[in-house]
């Protein structure tokens, strides 16, 4: 029983990261109607920027020297993470304006192709700039051997609690934006009915950029959280992207609540299935895939998505 609780709690940490990236994917999907496969890499770029800002100028981290003229450098890890989140948001907006602006309903393949191009480009820039080996990111939350809360004999680590608090605050802010602001209202209108909302004067171009900005910020947050738990390496966010795509697919692509719940489900499947079946850890992605296919075969529109109705 303790083992089960321990595994569930261990899965929760990954769940928070998958949830954050899944929400990011869902937001940009709501804004543009296209899935952005480069989401994870944009976030990873933010993660490396945070590392560069938090490292002293003389360190081996490329780009650290860039920030050495700023007052107070090297920054505290939290400050540099927040700065990196902002920079990632700006970067995402810039990329959206530069590459994804000629949105066209009739060419879903072209948009996907371009996001794949963005994925491999950003990934190439990151791995040529910062190398492929893992780097120590630092601790965002106390993660010593005694930093845990005991839950029925199992350890709930502070990092897990902290990650969830951050993710919940971030998602809360996004929800507030969507429900309380005018831009959020037009954002929801755009998701609901693109053609009609354009007719009543909503500018999809602006909202698409906002959507990408929010998702870039969330992705950078996810990358920083993931890196603080393990190491920052160039394939970190691609792995996370696969799980998060599974999560957002489970949730039904447009639903934020679905994305968070999907993240938890995928993370639990990833820990529980290989754990109880005695499979090697590499197989955890297979577990996620099995859950994904099973859900999609029975509910092809995801757990919380809307069933698509096609007019012939």
């Amino acid at each position: 029983m303790t083992l089960l609780i321990q595994r569930l709690l261990d899965g929760l940490f990954n769940g928070s990261i998958y949830a954050a990236l899944a929400v990011a994917i869902a937001i940009s999907h709501r804004a543009t109607g296209r899935v952005n496969l480069a989401q994870g890499e944009i976030g990873l770029f933010g993660g490396y920027l945070a590392l560069a800002m938090a490292s002293p100028a003389a360190s081996f981290v490329a780009g650290a020297a860039l920030f050495s003229n700023l007052p107070g450098h090297p920054f505290h890890l939290w400050i540099s993470t927040l700065l990196a989140v902002i920079v990632a948001a700006v970067l995402a907006v810039a990329l959206q304006r530069a590459l994804m602006r000629d949105f066209d309903e009739s060419t879903p393949q072209r948009a996907l192709n371009r996001s794949i191009a963005l994925l491999i480009c950003v990934s190439a820039v990151i791995s040529s700039q910062w190398g492929t080996r893992g780097r120590i990111f630092g601790e965002l939350f106390p993660s010593g051997s005694n930093d845990f809360v005991s839950v029925f004999g199992a350890r709930l680590r502070y990092t897990t609690i902290g990650a969830w608090v951050v993710v919940i605050i971030a998602c809360g802010l996004v929800t507030l934006f969507l429900s309380k602001t005018k831009a959020g209202l037009s954002f929801r209108a755009l998701t609901d009915n693109r053609a009609s909302s354009v007719l009543v004067g909503i500018q999809p171009k602006k909202l698409m950029a906002i959507g990408w900005g929010i998702s870039g910020a969330l992705a950078a947050l996810a990358a920083s959280l993931a890196a603080s738990m393990s190491l920052l390496d160039s394939s970190l966010m691609f792995r996370t992207l696969i799980y998060s795509l599974a999560a957002v697919t489970l949730g039904g692509f447009d639903s934020l609540r679905g994305a968070v719940i999907g993240g938890i489900i995928v993370a639990q499947a990833q820990t529980l299935i290989p754990g109880y079946l005695g499979l090697p850890t590499e197989m955890s992605i297979v577990a996620a895939l099995i859950v994904l296919i099973t859900v999609l075969v029975f509910r092809p529109w995801g757990l919380f998505g809307q069933r698509p109705v096609e007019r012939v």
Binding site: R114, A124, S128, Q129
Partner: protein, 363 residues
Amino acid sequence: MFPIVVERGSSKHRTHMMILMAIVLVILIAVAFILPEYQVGRVNRMWAMAIAIMGLNLVLGYGGLFALGHSAFIGLGAFVTAWLVQDLRFDYWMVIPFSMAASFAFGSLLALPALRIKGLYLVVITIAVAVVFPSLAKIETFGIAEKTGGANGRIIDEKVIPTGLGKALGFTETEPARYRYFLIVAMVLVVTFAVRNLLNSRAGRAIIAIRDNETGAAVSGVNLVRQKVFTFGTSAAMCGLSGTILALDKGFVAEQDFLFPLAVEMLVGLVIGGVATLGGAFIGAFVIVFVKEFSKNVNIDFGLFVLDGKGPFSALIFGVILVIVTFFMPRGIVGSLKPTFMQRVYRIDPKAPPLPENLTRLS
């Protein structure tokens, strides 16, 4: 002078086609003898990629199913080859039907969720398959890791070298790549004509009909389940053949060669050449292999930013090419140029239908 206008199926059209085929054959043979041995090896890799891209094209271009998992099928073909040749001591040519069958089965299996899962969801699942496959090749259960070589890879020591007839035709063992070139080109020609004929057949029309309107195709009597499974399976089988060629040509298989970037490379090649065109696969494969070879020797230092040829550079170039192509040439090289060529330079007019008997010709 231009355009040259011919009537489809006329003797002039047929003569032109024969001349074209003869020229292509001469070029194909000439390439093997003009290029040095080590370059021929690269061309072999290009042919293998072309077969794989044609396979991807069947699903993505003609089938309209955005699948990104085809690196797994290539990998399966390569691993089956390594297993059969190394453990069961098959001759290399006997491997081909087995690796194709294995990939066909795997592809058909993947088609089963594709029957219900569409669009974005299919993209996600196929990417996951491409990512999962290399780690599946490493697991210890069922002795899979022994058969595939696991993380270290596996050497195939059965070399494809000229024997009997090959020797009689003058190929030497010191230049095996040149010998293999002819075997591979023969396979490429067979596959190309098979795909061309498939697309002109009932099954091919059904594939395209499903892409254009699934409900409409079903109403017109296309069996969706059978057709999708068949499309996926055939496409996977072609990738399996490509995997066999790659494995035998290199003499080595390793799971690192079949990671997700391979699937991206195939997509890039397909998009550059032209989605849903037959000739695009060759141009795409050429660009991919050329860029990879070219970028191996690159080392640019921008001071702040260093690019070396270890892999990031070719990925960067592929990404930039993909962006440029999607912006300025969305239908790819063949897809954009062929219509103009067929209009301005060489026009094939359809055969005029015979006039009904009771009508007299006007004018």
